[in-house]
Symmetry: C2
Subunit: 136 residues, 2 copies
DNA sequence: TTTTAAATAATAATAAATACTATTTATTTC
DNA sequence: GAAATAAATAGTATTTATTATTATTTAAAA
């Protein structure tokens, strides 16, 4: 997803345009992987040294709400990445740096209907590993 | 896994026997699902009112290390359940109460070797839902 | 340009998890 | 069985992620 498209999406949801929001999205376009709140905070501080950590928290939540970013849990920490809604897929994730690679298999294809006693609301399939860079 | 077997396993790893540890394991045998640290703390307090929350944290970590309990993340909180190593499987989890049901499909069966650039170290496949009791 | 409603900064408050230390207890050795 | 010792525990403090609060600033509308 391009930054402009994401910002447009945000606008449609009633959120205002701000330079900082644009910058946050820009950061995600440059990274092929998950970033923690602190990661984003450190990066955006280079351009906006006075930005508040709270602002980063808030905006990442808004982006998640607007389905611009998607999240997962890495080592007990919430991490974010650009959402790719174009096609449903899963990821292999480097547990060291958060880098991801798409997997075009969805195990839900083999699940038909709801198991007795449960109503399915979602699922998660993630493969964890170590990328070659982190392996060195 | 029976409590005795688990305690034996713990002993083999060099941990001592204590009543509190046995009680914690007992709690897990009575529950078919994930429990948070606080859940366990509340339950064991009925028998050992002076037990420290820290002790629960420590012991759950030891149990995880000894592969007696397994963990996942539910709503950003670490939760524990009895590990069933007998056969590899996955779960459908009630996001309300943590109740689980086994699924006998493993998506890793369809993954051959390591994707280029990554060394696989683990995986997670979980289906989320709402159990009938919580749906009421 | 004025208005106003949202965004932000700064700070405080929560909550989960970990760290530390003195005391107690399970197990070993005699 | 008693003494020694190494681990377990309680109690407390600390750290860290996250959320809440409030005054100020700013984007967008009138």
């Amino acid at each position: 997803m391009k930054v402009e498209v994401a910002m447009q999406k945000l606008k449609e949801k009633g959120y205002k345009y701000t330079q900082k929001r644009e910058k946050i999205l820009e950061i995600f376009t440059k990274v092929n992987g998950y970033l923690s709140v602190k990661d984003v905070y450190k990066k955006i501080k280079q351009d906006y040294p006075t930005i508040s950590l709270n602002t980063v928290y808030l905006n990442l939540s808004f982006f998640e709400e607007a389905e611009i970013l998607e999240t997962t849990d890495l080592n007990g920490e919430k991490v974010y990445r650009f959402s790719c809604e174009d096609q449903h897929h899963h990821h292999i994730i480097c547990t060291e740096c958060g880098k991801v690679k798409a997997i075009n298999i969805c195990p839900m294809d083999a699940i038909y209907g709801n198991p007795p006693g449960f109503t399915i609301t979602g699922h998660k399939f993630e493969i964890y590993g170590c990328c070659d860079e982190c392996n060195k």
